[in-house]
Symmetry: C2
Subunit: 144 residues, 2 copies
DNA sequence: CTAACTGCAAACGTTTTGCAACTTT
DNA sequence: AAAGTTGCAAAACGTTTGCAGTTAG
C-alpha cells in the first residue's frame, strides 16, 4: 500500500497522504491504522468500490469484518455515499456530491452522470410527515 | 386464496380471475396451479411485493423456492418489474409502465410516483456500445 | 485504566441450486 | 416416454454480530 495518492476528479477529497488522517478526524472518525489504509485506497483512482474490492486491495492488513464496519462508518460520517443498484452488492461512491449513475447490467459497471446532464425539472410533492433524503437516479444500460 | 380480484389502479393487468391463465399463456408462461396462485396474489390490491410477502400470502400451496423461481420468471417475461431500493430485499412491481418511486428508508415502504410528477428534461448521452434499459428514479424520504 | 477498536468465526437473511418426484402432453 | 415443473433441503452469497484480545489516549 503506497502513501501516494492519485486524486479522483470528483471523488474522495483529493487530499495528500499526510492529510488523510486529518480528514478522518475532521469527520469525527478516529484515524486508526486500518481506517487509514482503507481511506488511502478510497482516495485512489477509482470512484466506485464494492466492499469486496476494498477488502481485496487492502489485503490481509484489514479483516473483512473491519472493512464492512469501516465502510458503514464512513457512510454514516458522510465520507462515502452508498449506491444501491443491484440486490447482490452495495457500491460505495467517494463522490458524495449530488449526481447520478449509469449502471451496466451486463458487467456490473458503474459510471457517474454529472447532475447537469440529467436535469430533473420538478420533484413531486412529498407525502405528509416525511422529508427528502436523496434522489437516486440510475440509468440502466446494456450491451447493444 | 380467493379467485376474485381487486384491480390495481396501475398494476398487474386488472384482469378477471378467468383470464389470469390467458395472461400467462399470452406471455409465454405455462399456467400451472402454483403460477396461477401467485399471479392471482399479484393481481390483488397492492402493487409492490417482496418475495417473502408473496410467499406468506400464497402460503403452503407453493414452496418458497417456487415463489422465487416464479417471480424471476415473471420479470423475465415482462409481467413484473424488479425494483431495487435496498440491498436487503428486492421488490416486485406489478406496474410495468414507466414510473418512479418514493422509498421510505425508515419503514421500507414503497410508493409510486407518476411519470408526469417527476419529469426528466433530458437524458445524458449514452456511453458507446450500450443501449438504454431503464431509468430508475428513487426518491428516498425519511420521517421528518 | 478505560474506552474504543480489531479479528475471527459463527450467524444472518435472502436468494439460488441440485435432485428426485411428479405432472402434463 | 419426454419435457417441463415442483418441493425440499442444502448451499451460496454478501453482510453483520458476539466476543475475546488488543490498542490507544
Amino acid at each position: 500500500m503506497k502513501d501516494k495518492l492519485i486524486s479522483c476528479s470528483t471523488g474522495f477529497p483529493a487530499v495528500s497522504a499526510e492529510t488523510v488522517g486529518e480528514l478522518l478526524e475532521r469527520s469525527g472518525v478516529k484515524p486508526t491504522a486500518q481506517r487509514l489504509a482503507i481511506a488511502r485506497v478510497l482516495a485512489g483512482a477509482c470512484c466506485h468500490w464494492s466492499a469486496e474490492q476494498v477488502g481485496d486491495v487492502v489485503g490481509a492488513e484489514v479483516s473483512r469484518a473491519t472493512v464492512y464496519n469501516t465502510l458503514n462508518l464512513f457512510v454514516e460520517k458522510g465520507l462515502l455515499r452508498e449506491v444501491v443498484v443491484s440486490q447482490e452488492k452495495v457500491f460505495y461512491d467517494t463522490n458524495t456530491a449530488l449526481h447520478h449513475h449509469f449502471y451496466g447490467v451486463d458487467d456490473g459497471h458503474l459510471m457517474d452522470i454529472p447532475l447537469e446532464q440529467l436535469p430533473i425539472a420538478a420533484l413531486p410533492p412529498l407525502p405528509a410527515g416525511v422529508v427528502l433524503d436523496t434522489v437516486d437516479v440510475v440509468v440502466r444500460v446494456r450491451r447493444g
